[in-house]
Amino acid sequence: MEKKMFRQYLTLVIPGLIIFTIGIIVPLTLSVRYSVTSWDGMSVEKPFVGLQNYINLFKDKEFLDAFWFTIKFTIGNTIIQNVLALLFAVALDSGIRAQKIYRTALFVPCLISALIVGFVWLKMFSNVLPEINKIFGTKINFLLFGSSETVLGGLLIANNWQWVGYWMLIYLAGLQSVPADLHEAAKVDGANAVQRFFHVTVPMLAPSITICVVGITTGSLKVYDLLVSSTKGGPGRASTSMIYQTYITAINGRQYGYGSAMTVTLVLMLLLVAMLQVNSLRKKEVQM
């Protein structure tokens, strides 16, 4: 019986394991191997340089700038997207009229490719919104992608517009699974709406918060496609993310080895951040 179970287990696991190995493990292993070479991506020779690429990373101003941009983008996204998604979820869970329409309207942007979203917001900031100034005679600066001081704000608007609806659905599902009697009991104990939200709803939503925080953080650390169609990492280098910098270094700059070192560093960073977040957030989850 145990043997049969084991065979069934293998039958289910092996296809996934093969795909995972070919798609993730092999490329990652190759990346690690290339990261200790100065390979240009074209030549047959792959000269071994040891850890030099990793040492150079920490002296590379362009990489450090890309790192800081990615961190700022990630922090901004994680805070704004979680807060907005939770607020929208609470609003839609409160029994307002036409909530299905609102839910659909908020969710639809996440069905669009990030490339299209980038292009749409480039046009919005450059062509559509400035028309408002012409119509009303106002002087609002809508050219957010045109300056290094405002480009981060513009990208946060575009990214949040796309993804808030998606995370809102996760919070909404979490809210709908909170037992009503907990709220009733808190009410009987004299808790007002705000107290009930922070002392009943939020603790019960902890699993959803874990999913959303980790998902938004790792997604933001990997931002690339939004930038390709909107700012192309500019103006100048003001919105170049780590992945974007990796791509232009490895492919356009023909420094495949150095680019691989960037990739390995990013993967380690993603793992570390995800582990820290999951560990700290899991401790706060309430077990029913």
């Binding site: 992608f145 045109g146 103006p235 280098r237 356009n252 023909r254």
Partner: protein
């Protein structure tokens, strides 16, 4: 009788064998072949693949081209790197400067002289390495300062040859409320492009091996005055263009130029499509961006350059495609008219209205035209020029100093060469 029978048999055998031979040849010719094509296209080129397919189908219906069209600036090099690992397409269409990048890797086939002879000699030099030509240059773009001819005539402005003369026009423009230059710096490539135009006239025209000296440590951006001057011209443009240039795309920028909001635009033939699409009567000319010595030349860039794989299994079919491209003059004119570009085939003249053609002819007659492939081979686009452009943009916006931008270019010296 025996002799007669023998002769008849031999004649019959010969007839049968030649017929069967003919049949074999015919079947080989008719054998369906699919050639893969990687086309790195400029903004002007999208759509020419249908024209080539149509022309090829008329002559060689058995040959099918399987196109993969990508943006040359962003995607051609990544695709080539990918295919160098997995196997090259049969035909690759890029720019002349790609030959210097890929031919030394031994992956390109030499182009047969029967096809090369159909083209102008002017562009052959920069696609020839060690006496072997690896690229067939099909068309060319001109680069310089496009100007509104009517506006120049109305204001009595002469074509400037020196920076002082250009500055006088800029000052007059500003006094009259005209934006001197149209520009779209949201596209960082446009900064890289104009910087190479400046470098050609102030650096490479005087020292064609400046890039080699740069790599040898004999010159640098931080120490070379001419190179610094070329970078500084970007500031001249930035100070005299639209405030929203870092939010403005090419189409909108070209539209403003056509609508008379700006007097000049440092650009290339790729703007002509937009100019004429917005107003087919727009009257524009072109002159080279003035340099310090007043002898700047109009720049031409061999654009569509056909390269073939050294390891193709269908060399005959590839040659037939080259044959169609070099002998079908109707196809050539159709492509030149569609892309609004100049012919690089002998005895083929585009028929699209090009008000700047008389300027081009004048500079050509005076020998004041230079091939930008020289500069692009000395300092490559991918990984060097396009990265420098980002630093120049950062400097223009005040996020970095001029010295930072120069130092960044110097620090990128290892990426400045294709080999």
């Amino acid at each position: 009788m025996k002799k007669k029978m023998l002769c008849t048999c031999m004649a019959a055998a010969m007839a049968v064998s030649s017929l069967s031979g003919f049949a074999m040849t015919a079947s080989a010719e008719d054998e369906a072949v699919t050639l893969t094509v990687l086309a790195g296209q400029s903004t002007t080129d999208a759509g020419i693949e249908d024209m080539i397919d149509e022309a090829l189908a008329k002559v060689y219906p058995n040959i099918t081209l399987e196109w993969e069209c990508v943006d040359w600036g962003n995607d051609f090099q990544p695709k080539m790197q990918q295919y160098m690992q997995s196997g090259l397409p049969d035909i690759m269409i890029g720019k002349a400067q790609d030959v210097a990048t890929y031919a030394p890797q031994g992956i390109l086939a030499e182009i047969d002289s029967q096809y090369l002879d159909a083209g102008l000699d002017a562009a052959r030099e920069n696609v020839t390495i060690d006496g072997k030509t690896y690229g067939l240059v099909y068309n060319a773009l001109y680069q310089g300062v496009y100007y509104n001819k009517d506006m120049f005539a109305e204001n009595g402005w002469e074509i400037p040859k020196t920076i002082d003369e250009l500055q006088a026009i800029i000052d007059d423009c500003k006094a009259k409320g005209i934006t001197p230059f149209a520009s779209h710096m949201v596209d960082t490539w446009s900064i890289g492009n104009v910087t190479m135009q400046f470098m050609m006239n102030d650096v490479f025209n005087n020292d064609p091996t400046w890039g080699d000296k740069f790599r040898a440590g004999e010159v640098s951006f931080s120490t070379d005055e001419a190179a610094q001057t070329a970078y500084q011209y970007n500031k001249l443009i930035y100070d005299n263009t639209y405030e929203d240039t870092f939010s403005l795309e090419q189409t909108d920028c070209d539209a403003r130029m056509v609508l008379g909001e700006a007097a000049m635009k440092v650009s290339g033939s790729w703007s002509i499509q937009n100019f004429l699409a917005i107003d087919e009567n727009f009257n524009f000319g072109i002159f080279p961006f003035p340099n310090q010595t007043g002898d700047s030349k109009l720049i031409f860039e061999p654009n569509i350059t056909i390269m073939t794989s050294a390891s193709t299994e269908h060399q005959d079919a590839v040659n037939k495609v080259l044959e169609v491209l070099t002998t079908d003059k109707d196809l050539a004119v159709e492509i030149y008219d569609y892309t609004n570009t100049a012919a690089m085939l002998k005895d083929v003249t585009p028929t699209f209205p090009n008000p700047s053609q008389e300027d081009i002819d004048k500079y050509a007659a005076d020998g004041m035209i230079v091939d930008v492939t020289l500069g692009n081979n000395q300092l490559v686009w991918g990984g060097f020029q396009e990265e420098n452009a980002k630093d120049i943009a950062a400097w223009l916006m005040g996020d970095a100093t001029f010295e930072d931008a120069l130092a960044a270019s110097d620090g990128r010296v290892d990426a400045s060469s294709a080999s």
